[in-house]
């Protein structure tokens, strides 16, 4: 007998939880502005997130999925991508979406029950939030196929969680992208919990990165609380994809510090100690410490950055709250490019019932 296939999975971390470099940092980390921009984005995502949870608690927002603890994974992806690349997110990757140009009031509109939130200002070709788990992996593969066919130097990036790796769509996307050498990067944000199901009940796999092996594509695991590691490996994967060398799977190890959504109570199924341990590894502290040690950040900058974020979030909330409900006709007007006659009649009835004016 002989071994005819074998694999190994690398784990990469640049900054440890105390902000100490564990490896030679990539070139972009030498640019102080670049580090500060990523930190500011992570801080903004966190302040936005806290505000959104509060809005839900006070009845001003629908069910909301918090991104607490995922900021480095999300911002790292956003920072690595080009505007012309295409993002196919799931539903809590605000850090990536905001970096790309989606507006905070648009995210609030979405969770506030208004489709206009997905008609966002960000890259107009990006996919909207995706609730059916891992189905967006196929959209990213399809987008990549479109770019490959047209010979455009663009890539697609999908993001799903650890639970999503159990879905057929995830495997089908990886397999197909491998077979066609598509310019796509599959991100798995492993936050250890799929609502109440812990990773060890999700899979017997030692890592989620190794799911790439069966598809014949590279897979790597990175510290998802280390924004430098996430950005670096996503950049590498995108460069590889742009060179025509095909897809990559990247698993980012992080932790969902919040409930699954505001409709969930995680204290029912996971020990407080586990969450407290994970909190010590969270992503903002380490980058801040790293920058402070090198004189790139200080309390003054922190206060200014925080104040700016709070103001921006408040403006977004105000804009969201002051956005009137869409007219009843909105249900009909985006169903097809041209509304069929049967629906024209239903539309008229809906307008009458809603009390007159279409707009």
């Amino acid at each position: 007998m002989e071994t005819i296939a074998d694999f190994e999975i690398q784990h990469s971390q640049f900054l440890d939880p105390q902000g100490e470099p564990q490896d030679t940092l990539p070139a972009f980390a030498e640019d102080a502005d670049s580090l500060r921009a990523m930190y500011a984005s992570m801080l903004l995502a966190r302040i936005f997130d806290t505000k959104a949870v509060n809005l839900q608690r006070t009845g001003k927002l629908g069910t909301y999925a918090s991104c607490l603890g995922h900021e480095a994974s999300h911002v790292g992806i956003g920072a690595a991508m080009r505007p012309e690349d295409c993002l196919a997110p799931s539903y809590r990757e605000y850090g990536a979406m905001l970096w790309r140009g989606v507006q905070m009031h648009e995210i609030l509109l979405y969770w506030g029950g208004d489709e206009r939130g997905s008609d966002f200002a960000g890259p107009r070709h990006d996919f909207p939030f995706c609730v059916p788990i891992a189905t967006q992996c196929l959209h990213a593969a399809g987008a990549a196929m479109a770019y490959q066919l047209r010979g455009e130097p663009r890539c697609a990036v999908s993001i799903n969680g650890d639970g999503g790796t159990s879905e057929g769509a995830f495997y089908e996307a990886l397999n197909m992208a491998g077979a066609k050498k598509l310019p796509v990067v599959f991100m798995v944000i492993n936050n250890k919990w799929a609502i109440s199901v812990p990773l060890e009940l999700q899979t017997a796999s030692r890592t989620l990165a190794q799911k790439a092996v069966a598809a014949g594509i590279p897979g790597i695991q990175v510290d998802g609380n280390d924004v430098i590691a996430v950005r670096h490996w996503v950049e590498r994967a995108l460069e590889r994809a742009r060179r025509g060398e095909g897809p990559t799977l990247i698993e980012t190890l992080t932790y969902r510090l919040s409930d699954h959504t505001t409709a969930d109570d995680a204290s029912r199924y996971r020990p407080r100690e586990e969450v407290e341990t994970a909190r010590k590894l969270e992503p903002l502290i380490r980058l801040r410490r790293y920058m402070e040690t090198r004189g790139l950040w200080n309390d003054e900058r922190e206060q200014a950055c925080r104040a700016e974020a709070i103001e921006a979030v408040d403006r977004a909330v105000e804009r969201y709250i002051n956005t009137p409900r869409a007219p009843v006709t909105a249900m009909f007007d985006y169903l097809f490019a041209n509304l069929p006659p049967g629906l024209v009649a239903q539309r008229e009835r809906a307008v009458r019932r809603a009390g007159g004016g279409a707009h």
Partner: protein, 325 residues
């Protein structure tokens, strides 16, 4: 002028549109070198290359999902699902994404894709190769369900489906793929979607059908004509959204309605058509509406399939009963 079968008309439409519009991409299982298990894509890969006619891995959810992704990014994918029995893994992508991408993004993203699905019984096929699930899809808002019943309509409706800016499930009645040849000029002229086609005018009874059952229905109408019964035969062609107006006008003229379909009777396309006519033309009806349909059973394996599918005799029986009521 080309004299072609229904499936040759499908190939002709695909080739025409691929030559006209470089955004059109054909993908699916065995559609490339093999030209499709039914030969619908025969010769296309040789003519347009392996990039535009892509053999995919064997995964229907993937075929549909990748088509959604391509369509959203400006392509016009025409995907083949080999048999209707294998379309179900793709339903997630069709219902949750293709059908609602425009709605969800307020038109920012569109989904101009066609999913070609050979369907129906009568070809002595193995298990899971003979069902008629069109009503399932017709119930889902945001997608068109289009079913041709002749070579000319296969050509014209498929062109229209590919050019349409919204997703279309194009169910191809495999039983009549090679049943009849018809002269179909390759003019690139599409036929309108969302309208019924009146195949035969008549005064005594409106008989509404689609797909392969148009053949049995027209035969039944022929036979009954010999007995002095005048049937108006309407091919629905686009099951959803339904062209209710044509159906209602016809029933207002004839006063009688029979709906013929191969799919199970309950909650089928016939139920919706009966309801629409009852809502709008009840007082024109001189007799109760009747459905001639498959039984509400699992489609049997092929030794019994001719007992399952409504043949000419069952159609005639249904029409006679309606006239005698």
């Amino acid at each position: 002028m080309a004299t072609v079968t229904l499936i040759e008309a499908v190939t002709m439409a695909l080739a025409h549109e691929m030559a006209r519009d470089e955004r059109v991409i054909v993908l699916g299982e065995d559609v490339g070198v093999n030209g499709g298990v039914f030969r619908a894509t025969a010769g296309l890969q040789q003519r347009f290359g392996a990039e535009r006619v892509q053999d995919t891995p064997l995964a229907e959810a993937m075929i549909a999902g990748v088509s959604v992704g391509m369509a959203a990014q400006g392509m016009r994918p025409v995907a083949e699902i080999q048999f209707e029995g294998f379309v179900f893994p793709a339903v997630d992508q069709i219902v949750n994404h293709a059908a609602r991408l425009r709605t969800r993004t307020r038109g920012r993203l569109q989904c101009p894709m066609v999913l070609r699905v050979p369907y129906g019984g009568g070809i002595h096929a193995p298990e899971h190769h003979s069902d008629s699930p069109e009503a399932m899809f017709a119930h889902m808002p945001g997608i068109r369900v289009v079913i041709p019943s002749s070579p000319a309509r296969a050509y014209g409706l498929l062109l229209a489906a590919i050019r349409d800016p919204d997703p279309v499930i194009f169910f191809e009645p495999k039983r009549i793929y090679r049943l009849q040849k018809q002269e179909v000029p390759d003019t690139g002229e599409a036929l309108p979607l969302d309208v019924c086609y009146t195949l035969r005018e008549g005064d005594d009874v409106t008989v509404v059908t689609w797909g392969a059952m148009t053949y049995e229905t027209l035969k039944a109408a022929d036979q009954l004509a010999g007995e002095g019964v005048s049937c108006e035969v309407i091919d629905v062609a686009t099951l959803s959204p339904l062209d209710a107006e044509t159906l209602i006008e016809s029933v207002e003229k004839t006063g009688r309605l029979v709906i013929v379909h191969e799919a199970p009777q309950s909650f089928g396309g016939g139920a919706e058509i009966a309801a629409v006519v009852a809502e709008h033309a009840l007082y024109s009806l001189r007799t109760p509406i009747r459905r001639v349909a498959g039984y509400d059973t699992i489609m049997p394996l092929f030794r019994l399939e001719s007992e399952y599918m409504p043949g000419v005799a069952r159609v005639i029986e249904g029409i006679r009963e309606t006239l005698e009521d």
